[in-house]
């Protein structure tokens, strides 16, 4: 079933933040939400609704999967799939190319953090 996330298309900020968070290892919902808020992970302030809506679509696209880890009956853990890792790498490549281009155009200060 089509789910709206095309691997070649730019990812939404929420999806990118979730993928970045899960790149560290499997995590539960709040850990991903907290990670996403940090500037290094996209600075996306999302609530549980956006988080689980995105996870639902990412699972359908095969980017993430639920893991068997359980420390609480209601807390669910997720991890990146192989496809999820590939899509994340492609997105980071795309963003990196955009940043390099911005530097060449003088839009970013030399040695800028980005």
């Amino acid at each position: 079933m089509a789910t709206g996330i095309q691997p070649s298309a730019p990812l939404s900020p929420a999806v990118l933040a979730i993928l970045l968070s899960l790149a560290e290892g499997e995590k539960h919902g709040y850990a991903m939400m907290k990670d996403a808020r940090t500037p290094e992970r996209g600075g996306v302030a999302m609530g549980p609704g956006t988080l689980y809506g995105s996870i639902e679509r990412m699972m359908r696209d095969g980017l993430v999967e639920e893991s068997s880890t359980q420390d609480n009956e209601r807390r669910r853990y997720y991890r990146l799939t192989g496809l999820g890792g590939t899509v994340l790498a492609a997105e980071l490549e795309r963003l990196d190319a955009a940043v390099r281009s911005a530097r060449l155009l003088g839009l970013l200060p030399n040695g800028g953090r980005l």
């Binding site: 850990a31 609704g49 996870i55």
Partner: protein, 270 residues
């Protein structure tokens, strides 16, 4: 890889726990607004995530609660739209919904067309009798002045039926009704048709316009005999057209309600 833990970074007292419980209870109640499949899959995990966020306190309550409830509203809309998209990409569901929409459209059209026809046809009943009686009297030799009562009816205002006699060329001979001080005549094509077929039933508009227009339900008959001509019996359609408009509105609302029910049903099943 080591799973990240959810330990709260701060401990919370019994009062805070109680207020957290109320907030989580309210949130859990609001989660019932999500589409059922989504709710069944994620509601417990979403509540747990909210509970974890409340206990963690890395974001103050003043920031966290508006963030979570604003996010709830946005994601509610997204999930319902997503479910609608998914539902309407299922051919069997779309086919059934289209068939039901087609049946509803036919029913709504019938709900309008049948009463409209009955009301409009019934509007002609007195004129048919009036025209027949006047035709008979004129054919028996009565003059138009004798056969038509002298009372003057304002065609624009009165709902009373009236009769008019015309000569063979369509010029008025005698009239029971006036419109702006004159006796109007229907289009000449009407007389030509009646000359060939004996009778015609028409909706005649001596004054056109949506607000000030005058529409007459008219029956025109041919008068044969020594002084051939025509008789027209008419009646202002204003009241019946108002009723037809009400029927149209009711049929339209019924149609929209049926389409709404089909949409809700498709979403519920989908």
């Amino acid at each position: 890889m080591t799973p990240a833990t959810s330990n709260a970074s701060h401990s919370s007292g019994p009062t805070e726990e109680s207020s957290f419980g109320s907030l989580v209870g309210l949130y859990a109640l609001a989660l019932n607004l999500y589409p059922r499949p989504f709710r069944e899959s994620y509601a417990p995990a979403m509540c747990q995530t909210f509970r974890d966020a409340l206990r963690d306190r890395s974001l103050s309550l003043r920031k966290l609660v508006p963030l979570v409830f604003r996010d709830l509203l946005i994601s509610l809309a997204k999930e319902h739209l997503s479910m609608l998209r998914d539902s309407f990409t299922r051919p069997a569901l779309v086919f059934n919904a289209l068939v039901l929409a087609g049946i509803s459209t036919v029913l709504a059209l019938a709900l309008y067309a049948i009463p409209q026809h009955v009301l409009r046809a019934g509007l002609n009943d007195p004129q048919i009798q009036l025209a027949s009686d006047l035709t008979a009297r004129l054919e028996q030799g009565a003059t138009p002045a004798e056969a038509i009562p002298a009372a003057s009816i304002d065609m624009a205002r009165s709902l009373a039926p009236f009769v008019i006699a015309y000569d063979d060329q369509g010029h008025p001979l005698a009239s029971q009704a006036q419109l702006n001080g004159a006796t109007p005549a229907p289009p000449s094509g009407v007389f030509e048709f009646v000359r060939q077929h004996g009778e015609e039933r028409i909706s005649w508009q001596p004054i056109r316009g949506s607000e000030n227009g005058v529409r007459i339900a008219a029956v025109v008959q041919r008068v044969n005999g020594a002084h051939p001509g025509f008789v027209l019996a008419g009646r202002n359609m204003r009241e019946v057209e108002t009723r037809i408009g009400q029927v149209q509105n009711m049929a339209g609302l019924t149609w929209l309600a049926m389409l709404g029910l089909i949409l809700v049903g498709a979403v519920a099943v989908g």
